[in-house]
């Protein structure tokens, strides 16, 4: 059986690897972006000079041949599902028995005047990175539009080369649609202390043409004109599915898939950023453009492709990011605006770059979520607490076993407990210590 996979990102590659684990099917991974799988999340580190492109490849180049995973560089123009055939730009054709669509995302553009000018780019692909590099020489200022994870990464990239950045964010605080207000304000302060010109409640109105088809300034919703040599469009991403519009594969925002990641065409599957769940799990969005869900879908689809029906279940929500120097982790349900029946314990370090937020259900005292800034928590421990709906007092007394900061770091879990004690009038004492031994015993229990 020949399995074709369009897209060599984390979803497609994970699928290919697991299919190879399970079977001897012929596997072809198709990409027009790069010859080999690289970690998209590390693109920023190439620009910042922390790593070379080679260092972002999770597998050495011999890996693919050794595991009989064929790599094909090319751009699929059309999927012809009646004939089980792919049509490439340039006219080449490829037959498949099963097809996995893992085409990822494309940067959002909201019809801004000038959005297609030169020196206007998103930050998603290797080609975007090359464009950033191209315009960086002698760049006097970059304007970044859209306050999400990619926007702040782009700001950090330019900042690493001492290029002044103006950062236009529509919201009243950075990313306050996703993280709670205190954390959003913390990141906002951190952006400012890095000398980024953060302009909140400001939107892009127009990108100005310099007369040669290249961007030379932006005009904001406040009417200000900001001269710049590069405009970064980072107002989110959408499924990269334009080439499928006439294919007969059902699409809405993304490619519609059922629990088994199957599309409406029986031998075609979709995974990762480009897939849209028909029945997302409670509390989950139908399209989740996240590294981790891409990896889980890749693994799940491999079972289904190999003939073993496995429903996609992303499990307990988790995610992470880094905002300049502040690391961020989240486990479970942490909403920008907390649900009415939830209660939060929020501890903040005096240096303003660390915080721990523990959220629980007011009525049942069950643990609901963790939000960490500048502090690392152990994924499996948090996951187990959340899965088992552990009582918040048990969690707070044992909180140290979740700590994943390096040795000799100060621990702050007792301070979180102290806040809870103050709030509840109780006098709970920490019961466990940080470290692998206690964490392991808990995980085994």
């Amino acid at each position: 059986m020949h399995i074709a996979i369009i897209g060599n990102g984390i979803s497609g590659i994970t699928a290919a690897r697991y299919i190879r684990k399970f079977s001897d099917h012929q596997i072809t991974v198709i990409s027009s972006e790069s010859d080999h799988f690289f970690s998209r999340t590390a693109l920023m580190y190439i620009y910042m000079g922390h790593m070379r492109f080679e260092d972002t490849k999770p597998y050495e180049d011999w890996f693919w041949e050794k595991n009989r995973i064929d790599l094909k560089k090319g751009f699929v123009e059309k999927v012809n599902h009646q004939d089980n055939e792919l049509l490439f730009v340039g006219g080449e054709k490829m037959k498949y028995d099963k097809l996995i669509l893992a085409t990822g995302s494309a940067s959002n553009k909201f019809g801004w005047p000038g959005q297609d000018l030169e020196a206007v780019h998103g930050m998603y692909s290797l080609q975007d990175l090359e464009a950033m590099e191209k315009y960086s020489d002698g760049l006097k200022r970059a304007v970044i539009v859209g306050g999400g994870l990619i926007g702040i990464e782009m700001a950090e990239m330019f900042h690493s080369r001492n290029i002044p950045v103006t950062f236009l964010v529509r919201e009243t605080d950075f990313w306050n649609g996703v993280i709670p207000l205190e954390e959003a304000k913390m990141v906002g302060r951190h952006i400012l202390e890095n000398h980024i010109d953060l302009q909140l409640q400001t939107e892009l109105k127009e990108i100005v043409d310099d007369g040669n088809g290249k961007a030379c300034a932006v005009i904001t919703s406040k009417g200000e004109r900001i001269e710049c040599g590069f405009v970064g469009l980072t107002a989110g991403v959408h499924p990269n599915i334009d080439f499928l519009k006439e294919s007969g594969i059902e699409i809405q925002r993304g490619i519609m898939v059922n629990d088994f990641l199957e599309t409406n065409i029986s031998n075609i599957y979709a995974i990762g950023d480009c897939a849209q769940m028909q029945n997302p799990k409670p509390g989950r969005r139908p399209v989740e453009a996240i590294w981790y869900t891409g990896r889980m879908m890749g693994e799940t689809v491999a079972y289904n492709v190999c003939g073993k029906k496995v429903g996609y279940d992303p499990g307990i929500w988790f995610n992470s990011a880094k905002f300049f120097e502040i690391e961020y982790q989240v486990y479970g349900t942490v909403m920008a605006k907390m649900a009415d029946d939830h209660e939060a314990i929020y501890w903040k370090h005096t240096d303003g770059r660390k915080s721990i937020r523990v959220i629980y259900d007011k009525n049942t005292d069950e643990i609901v979520g963790f939000n960490l800034m500048g502090v690392r928590f152990r994924h499996e421990v948090c996951e187990k607490w959340l899965k088992e709906k552990t009582n918040v007092e048990v969690v707070l007394q044992d909180l140290a076993i979740a700590n994943f900061d390096p040795e000799f770091y100060k621990t702050h879990e007792h301070e979180v407990l102290k806040i809870y004690n103050q709030k509840s009038g109780k006098n709970l004492k920490p019961k466990k210590k940080r470290g692998w031994t206690q964490a392991f015993k808990f995980l085994q229990s």
Binding site: I10, Y18, R20, K21, F22, S23, H25, S39, T41, A42, Y45, M48, G49, H50, M51, R52, F53, E54, D55, T56, K57, P58, E60, D61, F63, N67, S160, Y292, R295, M296, E299, T300, Y303, G307, K308, G315, F318, K322, F324, E325, E327, Q329, R376, F377, R378, H379, E380, E383, F404, D405, P406, E407, F408, Y409, K410, G435, W436, T437, F440, K441
Partner: protein, 625 residues
């Protein structure tokens, strides 16, 4: 801030220039006073004076001219004394004929030997110096050593103004730290191997040929691997530099290599540096500064300044602060000061933290260690400091090292205590990303480091055998030869010249990774029975590769992290940088006994857990690696 940094850099370059230039700033005149102050042996002194003839009292414009003139003089003196004592190599008489020695004088007190020639050449060059430098050596000390340190600190301290965090910006764009291409690296390696062979060509012909052959095989193998993979020679390797060669790095590497070659093999050319250090050396040990004092002083000073750099760079990370403080302390106290004080107290020189087999000559002079003529017996223990040292050395290797490694992993030594590790973690930190992460490199690593470990054990076994039996020939080998081969190839060439000189070329842990027999030994403990491992944090890895890139030991940490597998590797020195640079909080260095025998089994990123690979039609055939 930028200005202060630039001034600091300028001062450092100035100081370095003065430092190097100071080697040329002397003229040399050998007077009878110099001769008698430095050569106490009357037979040697008289013979040298006689052989020198007109050269006595003559002024030489430079140390090079002086050495060129006096090296033959000293060698002739050796020959003449040999002849006078009846040695006749042509006719197979290798030792002095007792009748021909002056009454009551032993052969060792009459004849000169090659190492005597080296010592005399060094002392005579050093103290025959006149001109600008000797009278102003304190000024030169300030303008070179001290000014370099101050300049360095001026360059480093302004970084305190930056927001604490990972500071690796533009490391791969800087010509100082971007490294070299694979071909350049092989050229350097090949040249070093060839040079070491040429240096010992006559002495160690056999081993020289073996090394050439080995070198050719290594280079051919790597070339072939690349060709077989059908990719261009440079592009397959992760060491490929992105934009041209790192010329500052290469220059720095060459400078270090030249420094080590001179230090080890031609110390008479750097006597001027030791002149500047005499006051300090005399105040510590009471002796004048020799080349090893110079080396120890420089080493400690460099580690201090670059240690401060490390402390500033990782001031948000307590593990790095404690660890860096620890290596700085052990270098200053244990490797530098305590041995000097021991000399002052007329005790044997000993670095108490330096464990065999890294300290490969520990058994070379067992006699000296526990006092001349003392039998190795309980009675001797209490009376001789040397005996205590000898026992400590053995306890250190056989008890302390395995025990601590079991508890904490080899990091307790390699990145907390060791001098080599200490320099790698401070001076070498800007180059940690240059280590080769490929699977091929790991293969070579395992052969080479365990090879060196076996070599060290065999060599030491032969030395002890010779000590116990008095016989130096074992099978077809002479234990003294094996000992000097080890000293030259492993002690000097590998740990010194390649170990440090290759920092900017192959990363900062070349010696620790490929060569150190102690690391090899501890690695076996760490791999098979230790509480240490690097745990990975569930599914949080995004495969970005920062951990692998900044692993100085060339471990592909990401390969473990992205599978959610704990890292248990013999080579890991537990520097903790992978955990520090991880942007998602995935790695943590941990100790624990609860799962000591299955530290590596679980794959935490495997998402679908309830399905068995082997139920019914579903079997594992693909076998991906």
């Amino acid at each position: 801030m930028k200005l202060i940094k630039n001034i600091g850099l300028a001062l450092f370059v100035l100081a370095l220039t003065i430092f190097v230039a100071s080697l040329t700033l002397t003229n040399h005149t050998l007077t009878e006073t110099v001769l008698s102050e430095n050569i106490y042996n009357q037979y040697h002194r008289e013979m040298i004076q006689q052989q020198a003839g007109d050269l006595m009292g003559k002024e030489f414009g430079s140390n090079v001219a002086f050495i060129n003139a006096f090296k033959p003089v000293l060698n002739n003196s050796l020959e003449a004394l040999d002849k006078a004592s009846g040695v006749d190599r042509a006719n197979g008489i290798w030792n002095a004929v007792p009748d021909k020695l002056p009454e009551g004088v032993s052969e060792n007190n009459y004849r000169m030997f090659p190492n005597t020639v080296d010592d005399y050449l060094f002392a005579l060059t050093k103290y025959s110096a006149g001109g600008l430098l000797p009278g102003n050596s304190n000024w030169f000390f300030l303008l070179s050593f001290i000014l370099a340190a101050l300049g360095g600190l001026m360059y480093l301290l302004p970084d305190l103004n930056l927001i604490p965090g990972i500071k690796n910006n533009q490391i791969y764009d800087s010509p100082a730290t971007r490294g070299i291409t694979f071909q350049t690296r092989m050229i350097f390696l090949g040249m070093t191997i060839l040079a070491s062979i040429l240096m010992v060509f006559f002495k160690y012909l056999l081993i020289g040929i073996l090394t050439i052959v080995a070198g050719i095989i290594i280079i051919y193998r790597i070339y072939k691997t690349n060709k077989d993979n059908n990719v261009s020679f440079s592009k397959t390797r992760k060491v490929t530099a992105p934009k041209g060669l790192g010329w500052i790095g290469i220059s720095f590497g060459i400078f270090l290599i030249l420094f080590y070659v001179t230090l080890y093999f031609f110390p008479e050319y750097i006597t001027n540096w030791t002149l500047m250090l005499d006051p300090i050396s005399e105040s510590l040990s009471g002796n004048s500064a020799g080349r090893w004092f110079l080396y120890g002083f420089l080493y400690t000073m460099v580690m201090f300044v670059m240690g401060i750099r490390m402390l500033i760079k990782y001031r948000h990370n307590n593990y790095q602060l404690v660890r860096t403080g620890s290596v700085m302390f052990f270098q200053t106290a244990f490797a530098f000061l305590i041995p000097e004080f021991l000399l002052r107290l007329n005790q044997p020189y000993m670095d108490f933290k330096n464990a065999w087999p890294l300290d490969y000559d520990f058994f070379f002079e067992i006699d000296k260690m526990y006092g001349q003529g003392t039998e190795f017996a309980i009675a001797g223990w209490a009376t001789s400091v040397g005996t205590m040292m000898f026992i400590w050395g053995i306890v250190l290797t056989l008890v302390v090292v395995p025990f601590f490694t079991y508890y904490f992993g080899k990091r307790w030594y390699c990145s907390w205590v060791c001098g080599c590790g200490g320099l790698a973690e401070t001076l070498g930190d800007p180059y940690r990303q240059l280590s080769d992460k490929s699977l091929t490199a790991w293969k070579y690593e395992r052969y080479i480091i365990h090879g060196v470990l076996v070599f060290a054990i065999v060599m030491t076994g032969m030395v002890i055998y010779t000590y116990l039996t008095g016989s130096s020939s074992i099978l077809f080998l002479d234990s003294y030869n094996v000992r000097s081969w080890y000293g030259f190839f492993i002690g000097s060439m590998f740990s010194g010249i390649v170990g440090t000189g290759f920092y900017p070329l192959m990363g900062n842990r070349v010696w620790c990774r490929f060569g150190c027999p102690l690391a090899g030994m501890m690695g076996l403990v760490q791999k098979f029975k230790s509480r240490f491992r690097i745990t990975t944090n569930g599914g949080q890895c995004i495969s970005c590769g920062n951990c692998s890139t900044y692993c100085e030991m060339g471990i592909d940490v990401r390969a473990y992290a992205q599978r959610g597998q704990n890292v248990v590797r013999a080579s890991c020195v537990g520097c903790g940088i992978c955990a520090a640079v991880c942007p998602r909080g995935v790695l943590r260095l941990e100790n624990g006994t609860v799962d000591i025998d299955n530290r590596v089994t679980e794959l935490k990123t495997v998402h679908v857990k309830s399905i068995s690979f082997t139920d019914g039609a579903f079997s594992l055939e693909g076998n991906e690696v």
